[in-house]
Structure formats: C-alpha cells, structure tokens
C-alpha cells in the first residue's frame, strides 16, 4: 500500500536520502526538493527535451520518470557539468559559438550532447542533427548549437587529452 517511498540517490556526485510521494516526477524532485533549477519544465510530456538529465550516463526525460524510480541510481544534471566553477569544454563551446539566447532549452541540449561526447563516437553533421532532434529550440535556429557540439565531438578525436571531455555521473571532468 505504497503512496510514498524512501529513496537514496546520487545527484552530481552528492548522495541524497529523501521520502517522496510516489507520483512526484523526477523533474519536480530535482527542481523543488533539491533546488537544482537548471533542469527545466517545458512541455512535460517528453517532446521538447528541456528536462533532459543523465541517468546512469544515459539521457532521459526527467518529466517522464518518477522520483521513486531512481532509488539507488546516479543522476547528472546541468549543474554537474562544470568543475569548481570552470565551465566544461561543451559549455565553453556553447558560449563561443553563441549557441544560446534565452537559454531555456540549453541545459537539455547540454545533457543530450554530453551523452554523445561521453560515447565518443565519430559523428557527421547529419547524424548529429538526428541525434539532437529530440531537443527543441525556439531562439537559435539550431545552427550554432550544432557547430558548438561538432567542435567538441571532433576535438575528441584530435586532442591528446580526449578523456577529459567525458563527464561521468559524479560530475565535473573525470581527468
């Protein structure tokens, strides 16, 4: 007869223990309970991508997950990308390429792109556009977002310290 559940989970490397209503969405848990408001509530039915986080390294829609489902799991949000206030390679690329305007879609794009970077597969522009097709942006027209992500994806194959582009569930660079 469960309408609440005790959960323990890691978010950006920090362990939390909480009791949640079973119907609480992971999105609202992250924003309201943990006060991590970088993850955004857009459409609340999975199509816009603004709520995307990494769950055990895989991109997921936090609006389509219950907090009760992530007991014992590891979550990475946009707040977990920077290390000691230093923006990640991907975040810097977004800055340099002007890949955000209002910024509402940006955390979702960063998390989806980070999954691709962590995988480290070579990817051309067409494949990248398809891979990011689940994230919607109303401001930029996508071109600068694609350029920013492509820059990081291609540098992964050129740079000697490619390992440091990967960001695991504990947040920040793994290097």
């Amino acid at each position: 007869m469960a309408t609440t559940k005790d959960i323990r989970l890691k978010v950006n490397g920090v362990e939390y223990a909480r009791s949640v209503d079973v119907r609480t969405l992971l999105l609202d848990f992250i924003r309201e309970e943990l006060q991590l408001t970088g993850t955004h509530a857009g459409c609340e039915h999975g199509v816009c991508g603004a709520c995307t986080v990494l769950l055990n390294g895989k991109s997921v829609r936090s609006c389509l997950l219950l907090a009760a489902q992530v007991d014992r799991e590891e979550v990475l949000t946009v707040e977990g990308l920077a290390t000691n206030g230093q923006l990640s390679k991907l975040q810097n690329a977004f800055w340099n390429h002007h890949a955000l305007q209002c910024g509402f879609c940006t955390p979702g794009f960063l998390m989806t792109a980070q999954e691709l970077i962590n995988k480290g597969e070579e990817m051309g522009e067409e494949d990248l556009r398809e891979a990011l097709a689940g994230n919607l942006c109303r401001c930029t027209g996508y071109q600068t977002i694609i350029e920013a992500v492509l820059e990081v994806l291609s540098s992964k194959f050129l740079s000697a310290d490619a390992e440091s582009d990967s960001i695991d569930s504990t947040g920040g660079s793994s290097a």
């Binding site: 119907r23 969405l25 039915h45 999975g46 199509v47 389509l64 997950l65 219950l66 989806t112």
Partner: protein, 295 residues
Amino acid sequence: MKPPPFEYFEPTDLEEALQLLREYGDDGVILAGGQSLLPLLNFRLTQPEVLIDINRLESNSSLEVSHIQSTQSELRFGPLTRQRELEVSSLVRKSCPLLSEAARYVGNPTIRNRGTFAGSLAHGDPAGEFPLIATILGAEMLLLSETGSRRLTPEEFFLGHLSTALDGYELLAQIHIPCSEALTGWGFHELDVTPRALVAAAAQVTLDQEGKCSEARLGFAGMGPVPMRARKAETLLEGQRIDKAIILEAAHVAAIQEVDPISDEVASASYRTALAETFLARAIRDAMARLEERH
C-alpha cells in the same frame, strides 16, 4: 500537468508481478518505459489507481526480461527490452534489418533509452513504427497472466486506436519476430512528425529461385485504426517478376483500397493517402534494390 495520486508497486519477480496484475488489473496499469504512460498521467488523460512498475523485474528460467535472444528462425524480445538496445543491436541489424531501420524513427534517442519495444506494442498506436513492423512480419505476442498464457497474432492483438487485446491482468511478456530469409529485401519510408509518424510504409519481398516474387509483405502505419496490411497489393506482386510498373500498381492498389485514413488538423486523408502510395512504392523499390545487391 502532474500525475494524479496512485499506489505504487515494484515487483522484482514475475510471479509477484502477475499476482499484482490479477489483484489490481482492473484499476492498475503497468509502468515499463513510461514514455507513453507518463504523458497520459501528466495530462491526467488516464487516472489509474495502481501503478505496477516492472523495471526491477528479474529474469528467471522461464523468462528473459530484457536481453535480445535469437534462434535460427526468430528474434525474441522481453518486456524490458529497451528500444535503444534494439536499435543499436548488431544481432537485430543482421537478422531483421527492417526492424532495425524502423527503430531509428521511434520517438527520439532519449525516448528510446527508456521506452520498451513491448510497451510500444502494448500501447497500440496505429501510427507507431513497431506495431507496423510487428504486423507485417507476423510477430507472435506472448501474453502471461497468473492463470496461464496465450499467443496472439498481430491481427488478434491490435484491435483499434490505442486498443489491444491485452487484458488488465495480463503482461506482454515476449515477442517473437520471424527472421529474414536469404533472398529477402526490405524497405521502409516514413514522414516523421516527431515523436510519431504521420504515415509510414514498410515492405519485405522474398524472391524464388527464378527471380519471381514468392512472398510480399506490405503495410502502413498511420493509415487506419490499426497497422494496415496491404494484402491485395501483396497478392498482386506474388508470383510475378517485379518491375517498375507493377510496383506502382501495387502501391496504388494498397493506398486506395486497403486503408482508412483520417482527416485532421495535421493532414487530410487525401494527403495521407498520397504519402502512403509514394512511400510504399519507394519501399518496394528499395527492397528490390537490396535484393539486387545480394546477387
């Protein structure tokens, strides 16, 4: 835009899950990938009293819950096989490339990380890619309940728009997909109105030793209340040498006679029909091209 109250169970073994389904089946729903269910809950279009979350279900001697299995003649999927796993599986790409290709169009990559193949079938969206492929390949659906099991064909399983033969106390536990034979070509085309298809067409063509069509499997998503199998068009092709003229004729017959598309604010029935005819012709043409590559 938040889910209504419900009670929540997380069974870890199959027996427990089936018991819960028997007890709460009338007022309860299964939560697997959740990529179709959560939107319904968030919009409160459905207000089940009970959620049975099967994500912690463990495999046992009688049921593999997630790993894709194969035999000589078929692929087998469990209740938790994720769409993404199916999409990237080299086993699926080799044994059933049509299924592999269709998977790329389901939702988007992030949805596919959680969404399940079984869940997509259980949801029964006639515009869905997986219901279409299951239909034209003659998939077998294994439904389990506490009291027994039954095996259904796609025609028995898909009953209408978002309506399947699954009873509230049953779990779609396994799906068997027959695998391609050597002399088989396939084709798939879709107009993707993310996250679903507007219209999709799929074709699988098998040739005999003389190069004539021995079997054709053709169908549409988004052209009726269930995935539509184009049997008249299939009969037209079977026994014939397939050339451009017969492809166009078959696509025309299928798109005019064997469909029941709606008109809505997205597209008119006539536009959907035009798409269906074009896509089926391309899909059959691609199937023939793939067959030629193999010679």
